[in-house]
Amino acid sequence: MVMQRGPERPVPVVFTGSRRELVGLLLRGYALLIPTIGLYRFWLTTWTRRFYWSNTVIDGDALEYTGQASQLLVGFLMALAVFIPLYGLFFYLSTQSTEAAIVGYSLVAVGIWFLIGYAIYRARDFRLSRTLWRGIRCDQTGDPWAYAARRFGWSLLMLATAGLAYPFMAVSLWRYRYAHSWFGTRRFGFTGSWRLLAAQYYITYVMAVIIGAIGLGIGAAMGAFPTTGVANPWAYVPLAIAALLIGILMLRYQARELSRMFSCVRLGTAALTVTIRARSLLHQYLRFGLALIVAATGLAIGGFVVLSAVAPEAFANGSFDLQLFLQHMQGSFETLLAIVAGYLLILGGLNLTRELFLSLAFWKLVANGARITDIDSLDSVGARPEDKSLGGEGLADALNVGAY
């Protein structure tokens, strides 16, 4: 393959992974989670990332994820050091009077909300510093505590302004992240300002408020919230329509925000442009909804078949007889096993659907919508010194904030 070179050559990003490959990887991982009492999740995450990274090809060269499962395991153990004293605190609070406990729990919740910002930043650092392209490692500098404080302050302002501060918050956080991101010796930059989002955001905001108010008004007039008696079921239809319309509006906004924000990312003179259509985003969520319905139906049919094979009499008269059914559950151990198996199947089905139709679909959408101009300017980037941090993204894992 001959690469043509030139300063203004826009280069597409290509995603080469197939859904089938990811399904195989995930199913194998879910199966291994059981004998390892859940510990395989660190390996599963690592394999999933390798899949995403190695299939994302920029200008003919794929990304490489160099992180190790053992690093995630170590990071998780380190996060435990934060959580064990927290558990002590929870225990102490649970023995206090109700008022003191409520105050205490609220303070802890605020503390955790603050820590999530720290965890998100550290997790991003972990992923970036384990991302290689053309033999050069990315990295993130900056202070995770400073980022956590920023995010926390902005979230308070968001509460105080009922969400009106959003464009300012989004740009501030994006800028902090990219201003502290590196590709080798070259620093990323972010050229966006709040003006980029403001018009779209406030239009969407006002429209959502108006539609919501109209929906609520019609619903209330039709008797959705009677002070006495039973609500009119038809009165929920305008509410549902309003919710649907607001959802579509938000997707339209989300598509624009993502396109505009990603397109403000710079790396020296190289520039990223991302185009995400609202229609594609909507289709993605529609497909996810459909897949959820299919998965739920499949699980329900499977469950019914298994249960009626175990206890045919319980279903004899076309209805389900719980007492008869329970007599068939010979012992309590079988019941526990049945509950656990059913729960794991449902959880696995939902996770698989989410990973395939949300995570993978979204990654593809961004990757395939991305173009990079002046990529040849990156030829002169040098390597960064080795990152010795072993930490993993433990806290993010423990706080449940990791994406991808």
Binding site: W43, F83, G135, V381
Partner: protein, 373 residues
């Protein structure tokens, strides 16, 4: 004919299209990296230092020990990969060794976790009794007050004592019974039995020595044996400080389950389910201990502890649902408790006077007013 590859030197972000050739110098084999039509050598990597980096199936990625961190040779396409693997069988051997190491690490971690779970399940019942003695009794009394306030708030009607006069015949008889049963257990607490108006047949002990008996339970008791059995059982919870024990154990269980599931916030269904199964196991253990305590008391006071199980059976026996969900239940099955109590009651002296005099028993059964009718 060199194998086509991409070469990143790991020093600059320049990617180069190269060819790979195998070369030996004495005993040492090298992978020679050449560029262009003229096969100009750029560098050479010792085969001994090569390892495969995991990548997508149509790509073979090599790195080398002792080279820059990001230095890579990337071979693409099935044919080229097959040629590389055929020429360098050592690569797949090294990859298999790497896989074995990962499997070993995962197995070791799993074993360690299994050991922690096992130690927890069997260690807590043994240790909780010791840990609990470290909790200052005053603190536990204060906690009992908090729990009692929460319990009273959760009842729909206000809490009304059946007989508010502490020196009445019934209350004095109950206090004497409680103190006698607790005697000899070295408990730092004093028993305070409170019979209150409530439509649910229930009785429970708070941390710190307070015992609540609901009037509906008293109504259903047909003999002194039954009522004394339940009271002695509750006193057993106080003597063993079970309330405190379970508070400590459930905090530990939450931490353990969070550790297994990797969700330290513990809000998922799985975390709830897991903690319930483990905590109810500890709770059933505590119930058995309290039953045994009641049976012991019956050796000193003249009541039949099996009455306890009879009363439980009347209030709510085992149905199919309880049986199926027994592993989630905080109490053992009633038939199981009855069998155990019968065994424990064996050989108790039968010539002891009943715990309450007829006048006292009359006063107790009529203290809530309802059973007079």
């Amino acid at each position: 004919m060199p194998v086509p590859a991409r070469y990143y030197d790991g020093v600059t972000a320049q990617a180069r299209d190269v060819g790979l050739l195998l070369e030996t110098e004495g005993d040492v084999a090298f992978l020679l990296v050449v560029e262009g039509e003229a096969l100009v050598p750029i560098t050479r990597w010792p085969v001994k230092a090569l390892t495969m980096v995991s990548s997508r199936p149509d790509e073979l990625r090599l790195r080398g020990r002792g080279l820059p961190e990001g230095a890579r040779l990337v071979v693409r396409g099935a044919a080229a990969i097959a040629r590389m693997k055929a020429n360098l069988p050592v690569l797949e051997r090294r990859q298999r060794r790497e896989t074995r190491q990962q499997v070993g690490l995962a197995a070791l971690a799993t074993l360690a976790l299994a050991a922690v779970i096992f130690a927890y399940l069997y260690g807590v019942p043994l240790l909780a009794g010791r840990i609990v003695t470290l909790v200052p009794p005053d603190w536990e009394r204060g906690l009992g007050g908090t729990v009692a306030t929460q319990m009273e708030a959760s009842l729909e009607a206000p809490v009304i004592l059946c007989d508010p006069a502490p020196e009445s015949l019934a209350n004095q008889a109950l206090a004497r019974f409680g103190a006698t049963v607790l005697e000899g257990s070295n408990s730092p607490f004093a028993i305070d039995i409170r019979v209150i108006h409530a439509p649910v047949a229930n009785a429970f002990a708070m941390p710190g020595g307070r015992v609540y008996v609901f009037s509906a339970l008293l109504d259903q008791a047909q003999s002194q044996d039954e009522f004394a059995g339940v009271l002695a059982h509750e006193v057993g919870h106080v003597a063993y400080r079970h309330g405190m024990e379970q508070l400590i154990a459930s905090a530990g269980t939450g931490a353990l389950i969070g550790f297994i599931l990797g969700d330290m916030t513990g809000v998922s269904i799985a975390a709830g389910l897991g903690s319930t199964v483990i905590d109810s196991r500890f709770s059933r253990e505590a119930e058995r201990e309290a039953d045994a305590f009641a049976a012991q008391a019956a050796h000193r006071l003249g009541f039949d502890p099996v009455g306890l199980a009879n009363l439980l059976d009347r209030v709510g026996g085992d149905d199919a649902l309880t049986r199926a969900l027994a592993l989630f239940s905080t109490h053992p099955l009633t038939e199981e408790r009855k069998a155990a109590l019968e065994r424990l009651a064996d050989g108790r002296p039968l010539d002891l006077p009943p715990p309450f005099t007829p006048a006292e028993w009359q006063a107790i059964t009529s203290m809530c007013g309802s059973s007079a009718s």
